[in-house]
Amino acid sequence: DAGITQSPRHKVTETGTPVTLRCHQTENHRYMYWYRQDPGHGLRLIHYSYGVKDTDKGEVSDGYSVSRSKTEDFLLTLESATSSQTSVYFCAISELAGGGELFFGEGSRLTVL
């Protein structure tokens, strides 16, 4: 199994509070992704990174920011959490762009009350 660790795995927070989810990899893969998964929507890309300090927006990036200061870590931040951001968040890594296999973490379940 690819070495991907997400933390925290579960979090309950209140509307308006900041939240940071961490993704740590030990595979030295260049590409890292944050997806959210909601019933009926599959996986939707929030942000992705193609190298240290190189990030770009996905299809549902509003309300989220990311940072990648080291190859192994990709942080997802919700500056002011809203109930619509209640979801399961998955980090993924890939060695190749555009069609390379994605290896996923186990997910972080976030509940915003």
Partner: protein, 112 residues
Amino acid sequence: TQLLEQSPQFLSIQEGENLTVYCNSSSVFSSLQWYRQEPGEGPVLLVTVVTGGEVKKLKRLTFQFGDARKDSSLHITAAQPGDTGLYLCAGASPSNTGKLIFGQGTTLQVKP
């Protein structure tokens, strides 16, 4: 915006039956992947198809990429309870931006 439509969204069948899941788009993809996800875990890659018309087999699972590279199908023969899970298709943009677009997923339940 590229979209992938999967159908059906839910499928409940008896062990031994055959089934087909479809993944359709109006856009062309450079490749298409199928993932399977079990509850509480992340998706795991089953197969990648790259060439239009390509057919790949993985035991009882048959994957096909449409000739125009806009659609794909997953056919399972003689389904077993162990096939139960969420099946996701994902398409790679020809622009090679590094992004994969996922379909909504098909939840399959195979009853013994």
